[in-house]
Amino acid sequence: MISTSLLPVLITTFLASAVEATEMVTIVVGVGATRGWRSTIIGAVSGFGVLAVTVVVLGAALSQIPIGPLRLIVGFLLLVFGLQWFRKGITRVAARGLAGMAGEDPHDAAEQWTGPGMDWTAWVLAFKGVVLEGLEVAFIVVSFGAGANNYGVAIIGGAAAIVIFLGIGFIVHRSVRRIPRSFLQLIVGTLLTSFGTFWSVEGLGVNWPASDGTIVALLILNVATALTFITVLRRRAPQIRAAA
């Protein structure tokens, strides 16, 4: 039974970890639905493996890992890759609209990995998402655990956030499959671009005006950008639709 004095630590750790867990699950589900699940799940499991070893080996010394450079590198990679999907999603949705519900459009299968081996793109995206967000959850657990002088409650809060949001991701992944792949690519491109922008700039030591809440502002900006360019493309070149 958790005492009343430790309840705020549990709730705070859970809520802070939930923000990171949401980002982790969003990336894994988005990449899995767009590129295929096998390599994405192997990448996510590999990420959890590396994370578990890091946490066990370093323990409370985890807070000594320089998170800034890690955020900068992961953010840069997500941003440059996310921008490619962002642009492809914009041009494909402009060309075909929301055609191909339930993946019926043969053009939409273009990003799906059909090779015999590992899809390393899906693996890297899932691996990076899990390691970076998992490390941030671990930092939260170590910080709150040390502050309250009770790691047990903080670990329960952090682990509960990851388990619950992974469960939500598992439940929604079937619904995500029904989204047209070109539209899904636009959604995932928007998410990767927004997270990538946020992490890379934060990794430089720059403070965003609204802290983690800035991610929502970046998402709104990128959605508005996508809608603007889709509208411009559809008005300017209706023949694109016929050619696509």
Binding site: T91, S200, V201, L221, T225, I240
Partner: protein, 70 residues
């Protein structure tokens, strides 16, 4: 080609496709934007606004190029 060499080539090609893709200017603009943001931050000048602008501008340029290629 020896197996180790072909593996190195495949590894390099993977990262080239991942970072550069089919429009090198986007990766270069992002890299330069981050360097400038870092310089602004080091000089205590507010620099968070730069990368969102680069994202919007480079998306426009890249979309324009992609639609012109079709």
């Amino acid at each position: 080609m020896p197996p180790i060499w072909s593996w190195i080539v495949a590894f390099g090609r993977f990262w080239y496709d991942f970072i550069i893709g089919d429009d090198w200017s986007v990766a270069v603009a992002v890299f330069i934007g981050l360097v400038v943001t870092g310089i602004l931050n080091a000089n205590r000048i507010v620099g968070w606004w730069l990368m969102p602008i680069i994202v919007v501008v480079m998306t426009g340029i890249s979309v324009q190029r992609a639609s012109a290629r079709r």
